[in-house]
Amino acid sequence: MAKARTSLVRSGLIHLALISYTLIALFPVFLTLINSFKSRNAIFRDPMAIPTPSTFDLVGYQTVLAQGDFFGYFQNSLIVTVLSIALVLLFGAMAAFALSEYRFRGNLLMGLYLALGIMIPIRLGTVAILQGMVAAGLVNTLTALVLVYTAQGLPLAIFILSEFMRNVSDDLKNAGRIDGLSEYAIFFRLVLPLVRPAMATVAVFTMIPIWNDLWFPLILAPGEETKTVTLGAQMFIGQFVTNWNAVLSALSLAILPVLVLYVIFSRQLIRGITSGAVK
């Protein structure tokens, strides 16, 4: 490769630029994490220092765990996110299979109809969604959130999955048909296992906005029993603005699950993006 001629100076400058931006990206997160383990005095006296045995203090975490029901919030977020992803993947894959496998009248139209939601945010229908949820008695239930997030995730999931399903070999499916498999068996037993990598990509894309959403929990399920982590952290911080230990600990608790998931799934996510799943 001729570009290996890149001079040392130039690659040095590039590393400098990338390192600077990496610091900008990570510094705030790092700052929050280290200060959440320090005593109040140490937070203010020397915010940039790493906690030492003399400044180490868990008082913030104690306050958070004593005051807010963070485990309950985690549980709510987990239930909502997992159920929504499961429904998005199942319904999305089924619809994607129908659109990519069969020729029928209205196929293209149906595809466009389902793709509308990629560009038009579901939030704009909030007024009527709330009205509908009130009428159905679903306000302050996790069901309401699962339904909304499923609808929100479906358009992109169908779009990505049908791209992938077009690449599944026809011979395989036809061989299945000759062996007497029903269309359902072909979908569940032949096609689904083959598009598993694409499903993982869709799962990660679906998960991030659901886990982080503040708008719908705030509007549809603000009750204590149904608060998600994002809403719980928001409200907790609102009450404890002046208690810096507690605020920093609450922030750290909210960051950690996302970071852990990212470390586990980052290769999948990046492979999904770079393989052109969202072009």
């Binding site: 001729a2 570009k3 590039i14 590393h15 630029a17 990338l18 990496t22 900008i24 990206a25 705030p28 997160v29 700052l31 929050t32 915010p47 940039m48 199942l90 089924m94 619809a95 129908a98 659109l99 009248r105 209205g106 149906m110 389902l114 509308l116 939601g117 560009m119 945010p121 579901i122 939030r123 704009l124 229908g125 909030t126 007024v127 009527a128 969604i129 009205q131 509908g132 339904l147 609808a151 029903s182 979908f187 991030i208 982080n212 959403d213 503040l214 708008w215 928001q234 911080i237 810096w244 922030l251 909210a254 960051i255 996302v258 990212y262 990046i270 993006i273 770079t274 969202v278 072009k279």
Partner: protein, 316 residues
């Protein structure tokens, strides 16, 4: 099963008794999507034409829109929010996308060491919730804690520090830059993917013609990634014109100081639900949502029918 057919007019034409399975595969997704997304959207658009008249909901034509554009208090906050939203969008286009392209261009240099690490690290903020991002930056920029003035002091720029979030003239720019910080990972990743897809032969041909380094980026790579930049722009547009969370966590529902960070999302929230001494108003909420819908629709159509068709695509 038969009521699924009648419930959805789009599936009706496939009424061939032998292929029920197509309907079974489509039904769950179409039902959920239609019931929770499309119908509420249509209902919201419809509600914007109704209002309470003598305690009864009645059809009022476009008078809600007339109120929104002419009522002194409402129209002032609407135009303010729209203007702020435009600035919010322009800052994203001017900062987020060029920075994203620059980072992607550096990351895509072949055989760059630590590229995976940089890429992973720079994407971290994008995964965090607005609540976390908002509060972290609030703390960092707070004059009480002194992180920001302390760091500026190190580079001798302490005089520059001001409570940026608390001043009407700088609050919007500050909030926009926080949002840019959070989202720069998305253009970076998409452009990175586009750059990786440029075939090696094209670049080698360019090098044979003596086009390398900067010239190669501007003359060869940039034209080839223009479609991706177009997609990023429209994604940014849609995201910005329905943003809410970050402003809400950093500046509260009133989008202070003095409405200087109010954008359409926060205005919709306040109008629909009411805030402090302001009563919630469903019809006006629906009206603002409709206006947002029309703005987003106009932007998306402009992109799909005008910009996307003019961008030259190259097939390899």
């Amino acid at each position: 099963m038969s009521d699924i057919y009648t419930a959805d007019p789009a599936i009706v034409p496939i009424k061939r008794p032998t292929r029920w399975h197509i309907a079974v595969f489509l039904a769950p997704a179409v039902l959920v999507y239609t019931a929770i997304m499309i119908l509420p959207l249509i209902e919201t658009l419809r509600l914007s034409l109704y209002n309470l008249v003598d305690g009864q909901t009645a059809f009022v034509g476009l008078s809600n829109f007339a109120t929104l554009f002419s009522d002194p208090r409402l129209s002032a906050s609407f135009w303010n929010a729209l203007g702020n939203n435009l600035i919010f969008f322009v800052i994203h286009m001017l900062v987020q996308n060029p920075v994203g392209v620059a980072l992607a261009a550096m990351l895509s240099i072949p055989k760059l060491r630590f590229a995976t690490f940089y890429r992973t690290a720079i994407f971290v903020p994008t995964l965090l919730s607005f609540v976390i991002v908002g509060f972290i930056w609030k703390l960092i920029l707070s004059p009480i804690w002194g992180i920001a003035p302390g760091m500026l002091d190190v580079v001798g720029l302490k005089w520059m520090f001001a409570p940026w979030l608390g001043r009407p003239d700088s609050a919007l720019i500050t909030v926009s830059l926080i949002s840019v910080w959070q989202y720069v990972g998305i253009p970076m990743m998409l452009i990175y993917a586009a750059l990786l897809n440029i075939p090696e032969e094209v670049l080698e041909a360019a090098e044979c013609d003596g086009i390398t380094g900067w010239g190669q980026f501007w003359k060869i790579k940039l034209p080839l990634i223009l479609p991706s930049i177009g997609i990023i722009s429209i994604l940014t547009f849609v995201g910005n014109f329905n943003a809410f969370d970050l402003i809400y966590t950093v500046q509260g529902a009133l989008a202070g100081p003095d409405g200087s960070t109010d954008i359409l999302g926060t205005l919709l929230y306040r109008t629909f639900f009411g805030f402090q001494n302001q009563m919630g108003d469903r019809s006006m909420g629906a009206t603002i949502a409709t206006v947002m819908f029309l703005i987003i629709l106009a932007g998306v159509s402009l992109y799909l029918f005008v910009i996307q068709r003019r961008i030259r695509r190259y097939q390899f």
